[in-house]
Symmetry: D2
Subunit: 103 residues, 4 copies
């Protein structure tokens, strides 16, 4: 299991607004199976089997091109741990628990 | 107002766990004024006046060194918009509204 | 054609040095076909057909695990342009030419 | 000493070309003192005292706004090592030396 952050920036759009492209990516995510995801103010975070996530990211990368954009910068950050089962919830919980206890 | 994503990775730790360093960064954030923040599974997102955020990020970058780490890779992504008041909540809401309406 | 930046950070390596992992990744790149690459002080940049690059990146992501590392953070940034043939050299040249002429 | 990667993406530029903005950032860098820099196909890498670099990055972040852009996404990655003097050249050399020797 991996937790992966993705942000997709269309370049050369007429206005500074990107939300329509992010929304269209989330329509693709809504139909995807076996991958959890969370929209954040700076990116979308995915959780699941790494290769399933990466093929989904590849599909998301195409979304702005389908809307007529000619250039896209897609950033992906993979957090992949093999000694422990990594989940979005587990990562946040581990920090919150440490915050409750002394450092 | 800017929305800024920060992730701080200590290099050369003895174990793969990073949550204690993230928690210590959040202790710094808890004492900071004038900056909103949100912990996500891949980073922490800050909202506020850009220079205030960047000086806070500079402070956070030092946290692992105080814990004895010798190398730190800090990634920062700034989303800065001058035609509109940018907030964490506003960015997420803009996507959610587009998801409710046809694309 | 796409130009893709990749950086692979092993977590929990006990010492701050990462060059042995980067070198091992470059041994994989040396054997790869159809993809140009350039080592920079912060990452490695690849140029070629996007899907070929992404499967190579997937292979590079495994390199630290083979060396016994238990956690890896891999960052990938894709620059993909469909209106023009994008190359590493072309991107740098475009900037250098603009630097020679007035802005 | 730190080695820092910076990439500045203007949003809403109507055309996909970014080289004029990168060139204008490099005009600022040409006048800066005490910071070495290297243009790569995906970003610009800076080497020097961390706080000097970060204030220079802050200045570079404003460049697209001066050219009329309304939104800018600036990505910064800091590699900061306290056990060793980190330089762009030293980081690349360390990998090249390892490549020459067996792993």
């Amino acid at each position: 299991m991996a937790v992966v952050e993705v942000s997709i920036i269309p370049i050369g759009t007429e206005t500074p607004s990107l939300s329509r492209y992010v929304a269209e990516c989330h329509r693709v995510l809504q139909k995807a199976e076996g991958v959890k995801y969370q929209l954040t103010p700076m990116n979308t975070i995915l959780e699941g089997e790494l290769d399933k996530i990466l093929s989904l990211v590849r599909e998301l990368h195409e979304v702005p091109f389908r809307a007529g954009v000619q250039r896209v910068v897609t950033s992906v950050k993979i957090d992949d741990r093999r000694d422990k089962h990594l989940t979005m919830q587990g990562k946040v919980k581990a920090v919150e628990e440490k915050l409750k206890s002394a450092f």
